[in-house]
Subunit: 158 residues, 2 copies
């Protein structure tokens, strides 16, 4: 009985990619509310969120203030290590060239993104910009991630 109970508890505790992408989506929603392009990101280490942020290019008046850049810096700060070799980055939209470059340097173990970026996604360059050891997973909660972007740009044009 105890074993069944334990295994039920464990199944509740399985924190999967969708769970963490929802955390990144919460950040995207924060961005949306403040008039920023709604992209959110979290960095996860040992099943714990160790850094979270969203796009702040307008607030900081800084083109480099993408969600990914900020969580990479914050996660390194949290761990006291430049390298994020045992971490996963969750981001609602495909990283751009700049962020792919930062992901490369950080040696992140995994990158999980929601929707692709047809215009500025780094995969549009046609070359592999990530570190060869970094596993890249796309399409997690893609529709929800894309919906934020669509709403934002529709509202902006309207």
């Amino acid at each position: 009985m105890l074993n069944i109970f334990k295994s039920e508890l464990l199944s509740d505790l399985i924190l999967n990619d969708q769970y963490f992408m929802r955390e990144a989506l919460k950040e995207a929603d924060e961005a949306y509310k403040s008039g920023e392009i709604p992209i959110g990101a979290v960095v996860v280490c040992m099943n714990r969120v160790i850094a979270r942020s969203h796009n702040l290019t307008e607030l900081l008046n800084d083109v480099t203030a993408h969600a990914e850049m900020q969580v990479i810096t914050a996660a390194a700060n949290h761990l006291g290590s430049k390298y994020l070799t045992n971490c996963t980055l969750y981001v609602t939209v495909e990283p751009c060239v700049m962020c792919a470059g930062a992901i490369f340097w950080s040696q992140l173990e995994r990158v999980v993104y929601g929707t692709s970026d047809e215009k500025r996604g780094c995969s549009k360059t046609g070359v592999m910009l990530y570190h060869p050891k970094t596993k890249v997973i796309e399409g997690v909660l893609a529709d929800e991630c894309a919906q934020r972007m669509k709403s934002f740009f529709l509202k902006k044009r309207g």
Copy 2:
């Protein structure tokens, strides 16, 4: 006579790419002294240095703290504008993929670099990562820029 005098003065005042690369080299020397990979950068607007920095990845424990990233952020802060459309970035070593991506977003008018980076220079990807409007000039004081890097890595290995 006055005209000749004026034109002589003007010729003294011509602040060319070599002049500003020497400013970037001063920053590279600061990096060297503090044990950072010796790469320096300045951003110039209307013949004035508006931002200067050097590689700070060790001090800040942050892989994103490249010289270029910092001067782009600082220059935008100085100008109160995200975009650096009338500015030139001088950097002693060829930008990496991350920095090329940041240069793209910043819409810098010109990028002038010293020595190429055979391993991690963005040109090694084989694709154009800069904004098509950004003019890129390479090889300004290349030997002096390369010399700093060689000394640094020789000393590190020794």
